[in-house]
Amino acid sequence: MSPSERACALLTRWVVERMPAEAAAWFHTQLAAVASAIEEKPLYLALGWAPRRLGKADLRLSPAELAEAAALRPGFDPIDWSVDQAARVALVLASFDGDPQRFKERLETLFRTADIGETIAFYRGLPLYPAAELLVARAREGARSAMRPVFEAVAHRNPYPKERFDEHAWNHLVLKALFIGTTLDPIQGLDERANPRLARMLCDYAHERWAAGRPVSPELWRCVGPHADDAALEDLARVLETGSGEERKAAALALASCPRPEARALLARYPELEGPIARGEIRWAAFAQG
């Protein structure tokens, strides 16, 4: 089996195991129709009917099933997928006829006429699609969305951006996440893809927020720490002096991730934070907002 066939088979099994016999049979019929279709209509109709016939309940994958997901493809994390999302991605995968360019064009057309639920499902499917290299522009489009759940479908628990986005696109994804008030922690590759330009953009953004009297997410400092320049260290010092309890913890964590001796020296001035960090008692995941 090809990777996309294996992905389709796994999603199908998860869906079918949660369905009464009649709905399961309906789904199998649709997959077969889509796979053998010459025109696009069976796919559109099946995508439209999927939530009506199969429901929108959470998949609630077992630990064993989550392990299957990780084995299928590194970074694939469907922990919060719903039944209709899995079904829709399976249908899209079933339409792949071996021609990557045609698949890309079909997916583009689907996105162009998608409702919110479909849009979210299609973006969540990004790590499973064939021809991943052809889908970068589409993924970047999603990472510019003003609709938070759509943005999160690309950005959260999705290995695609860290694997395919260039530095510019990556940096804007992180900035956009902060801008629309979502959390950074579920973004895969957040630490490994930190870079000096992003650190600078984020410090500039923090200054904008301070000038406007608006709060700065403690998570912002996570991508600043490893690449902090002198100005960034000044910003972190300012947070340690004047920030809230959460902000100070985040600034201290950022300093702990910075290789520069100046950062170590600064952190050493706050033993009440340095100690718990050294013992692993303060972690970035704790700053993730609901």
Binding site: G48, W49, R52, K56, S82, R112, T113, D115, P149
Partner: protein, 306 residues
């Protein structure tokens, strides 16, 4: 608790959403129509339909309103044959989107041949997909246009209880009720119905198969028309049960036949919806009837719309 079954929220501001929510409007339906001027390309139609199935839905959710829509080729733009043909081709792709509660607004504007052709083809589409229909009745030559719309619906074998005739007035309502259709009234200043007239309609005809909407859009119109009319009816001594039908229960029953709009959507939204689409009104959570403290919240002193 009100349902405004005809709103073009794409033309309204966030202030409107806030005021509607404060006045007790829990859900609204956005029928596809023109935009005050006709579109000239199918591409703009695609983006429009995606907008009312997508971003507008999301936007409403931020203010605690549930948003639904209808899709269709409106009669004004049906007169552009090239556009109309292209739109007919893409409509089936939208008709099964989540929250699409009917095919509409369709019907007549000038009652031309082209309008007639695309009206009929869309009635067939509604029949094929099992969707209700929202009919826009013409402003000019209204009475004849309304009767003709109903004749054509009958000719195509649709059940009148699945079809809403909108923009009624005193001259059309009797015929619509007699033939078993839903009779909707758009409370819209200057060109359609005033709400003092609406009170009289309910007094005269009762509340069976009758409901009102705001049809608020880019023109001078009032997104609070439904709650204001309800309050006016209340002051005029119309029984609460009738007010509920005219401003909530009837449109819910009519468009509910699509299976895409249910009271639970706002009384007890499923977790998936709450996570993705619906972030507003916490008083509506947990399956309880929302308590609107003052019935006139945000409505102002003068309730009349003439």
């Amino acid at each position: 608790m009100y349902l405004d079954s005809h709103t073009h929220m794409i033309s309204r501001t966030t202030d409107d959403y806030e005021r509607m929510a404060a006045a007790g409007v829990v859900a609204c339906i956005e029928p596809a129509f023109w935009l005050g001027q006709p579109r000239t390309h199918v591409g703009t139609y695609i983006d429009y339909l995606s907008m009312i199935c997508g971003f507008e839905r999301f936007r409403a959710g931020q203010f605690g309103l549930r948003h639904y829509c209808t899709v269709g080729l409106n009669p004004k733009e049906a007169n552009n044959e090239e556009l109309a043909e292209a739109v007919m081709e893409i409509l089936p792709r939208y008709a099964l989107k989540e929250g699409v509660v009917a095919i509409g607004e369709i019907g007549y504007d000038e009652q031309t041949e082209l309008e007639d052709r695309y009206f009929r083809r869309q009635l067939e589409l509604a029949k094929e997909l099992g969707l209700p229909v929202m009919i826009h009745t013409p402003h000019r030559d209204k009475k004849k246009g309304t009767l003709r719309s109903m004749d054509v619906v009958r000719e195509h074998g649709l059940d009148p209880s699945w079809v809403v005739i909108d923009h009624n007035n005193e001259e059309t309502v009797q015929a619509v009720l007699d033939r078993g259709f839903w009779a909707a009234f758009s409370i819209y200043p200057f060109t359609k119905m005033g709400n003092e007239r609406m009170v009289e309609i309910v007094r005269r005809f009762g509340a069976e198969r009758i409901f009102c909407d705001s049809a608020c859009d880019w023109g001078i119109s009032d997104p609070l028309a439904v709650p204001k009319t309800a309050e006016l009816m209340r002051r005029a001594g119309i029984p609460e049960e009738q007010i509920r039908k005219v401003t909530y229960a009837n449109p819910l029953e009519a468009y509910g036949k699509s299976g895409q709009i249910k009271e639970e959507d706002w009384l007890n939204p499923p977790p998936v919806d709450q996570r993705l689409l619906y972030m507003g009104n916490s008083i509506l959570r947990g399956g309880q009837e929302p308590r609107i403290e003052a019935k006139t919240t945000g409505l102002g002193e003068d309730l009349r719309i003439a």
